[in-house]
């Protein structure tokens, strides 16, 4: 969380340290070609396109026996089995690409729901202040004080683990984070002279909030979107890894790691391949979020 928002919140301690103070880059190094950022962006484009058009790619279905079992990586056996097969002879490459679909759909949907709902709550709390703010802040703080993974686990224990249940659970987790960010931003933007000017022209409070405060303050939500999507993908992966995520036949990265784990000693690629897909995707999203925030901060300062 940026210092000004932390100050506006009046809370010195973040229950969830979202802002991870990226190492500041000097002006000179910022102009240099940022290889990490471009590689990250390229990976995200590739994985999104590949998973969206997976059925058009020359890939075996992720649930079909496509070759011999426990095939190692880079074994010369057709391009779709390049990353090897699992103990049922299913292609790991297919699994990872179809698994990306599950992770991305769940991560992006729940982050978007969280962003819209949390953003609205935060906007009204930060702009209207008074009792609205006090109630909203208490609820946000209470939600942030919940042990997130445990609540999610309890939810899956009780409801059937389906894509929809998991999206609901993850949205609930991301709402307080977005609400707190937006509240701080709306709070500071509401102090600007142009807001007072709009009000003095006779613009209603609600219209001021949505037409003038929101477009400015919501920028911070967009900059946190990749980071929160990354966090939600990790949460979904943890659930699947525990066998409590989206059940088969839907392929998930966490589920692939779970299935490959008994064969760790003989064919480690069954664990390492999906692990690498998760790591690279989460890393790319984190880098994207970090760099976007860095640019925005610098422009504000300069």
């Amino acid at each position: 969380m940026t210092p000004e928002i932390a100050a506006a919140n009046g809370s010195p301690i973040d229950t969830e340290p979202l802002e991870l103070a990226a190492p500041e880059t000097s002006r000179a190094s910022r102009r240099r070609f940022d290889l990490t950022l471009w590689l990250s962006a390229a990976w995200l484009v590739i994985i999104v396109l590949a998973s969206a058009f997976a059925s058009f790619l020359p890939l075996a279905s992720p649930n079909e026996t496509a070759g011999p079992v426990n095939l190692p990586m880079f074994h010369d056996f057709g391009h779709s089995l390049i990353l090897g097969t699992d103990s049922f002879g299913r292609s790991l490459l297919s699994g990872c690409i179809y698994g990306a679909r599950t992770s991305l759909v769940i991560g992006v949907t729940s982050a978007t729901v969280g962003c819209v709902v949390g953003g609205l709550i935060g906007l009204l709390a930060g702009y209207l202040r008074g009792p609205t703010d006090r109630v909203a802040s208490f609820v946000i703080d209470a939600l942030l004080a919940f042990p997130a993974l445990v609540v999610l686990l309890a939810l899956t224990a009780i409801l059937q683990p389906k894509v929809s249940t998991i999206v609901i659970g993850l949205s609930l987790l991301s709402i307080p984070a977005f609400a707190r960010l937006e509240r701080g931003a709306a709070f500071t933007w509401a102090e600007r002279p142009f807001i007072l000017a709009a009000r003095s022209y006779g613009t209603s409070r609600l219209r001021t909030a949505f037409a003038h405060v929101m477009p400015n303050s919501a920028v911070i939500l967009i900059t946190y979107l990749p980071t929160i999507i990354a966090g939600l993908i990790v949460a979904e992966g943890s659930l699947s890894f525990l066998g409590l995520g989206v059940p088969p036949p839907t392929v998930t990265w966490g589920g692939m790691i779970l299935n490959g784990e008994p064969n760790l000693a003989t064919s480690p690629n069954q664990v390492l391949v999906p692990a690498a897909f998760i790591f690279i995707t989460v890393f790319a999203l984190n880098i994207l979020g970090e760099r976007v925030r860095g640019r925005l901060d610098n422009r504000g300062r300069g």
Partner: protein
Amino acid sequence: MLSFLGIKVLRALAIVLAVTVLTQFLLGLVPGSIAEAILGPQASPAQIRALNATLGANHSFFVRYFSWLGNAIHGNLGSSAVTDQSVGSAIVSALPVTVELVILSVVLAVVLSLVTGAIAARRPGGKLDAAIAAVTSASLSLPPFIVAPVLAYIFAVELRWVPVLGFVSLTSSVGGNLKSVALPVFAIALPEFAVLQRLLRADLVATLGEGYIDAARGRGVPEGRILTRHALRPSLISLMTAAGITVGRLISGTVVVEVFFSMPGIGSLLVRSILAHDLIVVQGTVVVIAIAYVAINLAVDLAYSLVDPRIRIRAVA
């Protein structure tokens, strides 16, 4: 100070109560009756009726909630429908494992972040700083469920330095215990280390730009001493706060690692009871974890305000 303390404690109590209401409410959402969910599809209607009666599932939400709460306040969280063990004793026997994991992970994360934070802050933008930044940036994207199997592969399967599975309790063998917790602790500590390191580094770089550091340099205090004595001390407060928050988060974060390494802690207990539909145990465990989480956050809040009086003034005003 008293009113500040009162507000904070009341808030924490309200959150704990909210968790208990929420878990009870969630139990009400179980499709069919709770007894059906616990006994599974093979159970006869008579068995289901009998268990529903013992669980009091036929009463209204409020009756069920307050009878659970009344028992819980007296330390009785009910007993497992599967193993018949009392939830309280199951939690008490699992707790030491989780507590050990959490403490060791936080200590490891703090020590690693102190060392690397100080090295990185000596020359911000230098080669070492960039290398450490690359490591933390990668660590942030390495959740325990990725690190645990990879570590197990490298150190237990390939190098055979530590056993893959099997938890050795601290009371039976200290060395064996440390060996069996080494990988789990590292897997938990890695992302937390990255968070703490970044905080500390940013803090240290800012502190090293202060006037009193220049003054110390002018007096001829050696650079290493400036770092450890003059700059590190004020940064320790925020590091300790962050570490405190980490402890709270780790209580639930150990779940994945405990399950992977089959360690008999709270996380394993929770997942095992979820998979067995043992909802009474799920409810008790979730509430206990929530209380621990809230209590630690409260303790961090209070400790922080003791050190920095500005906070309690702002909170009350």
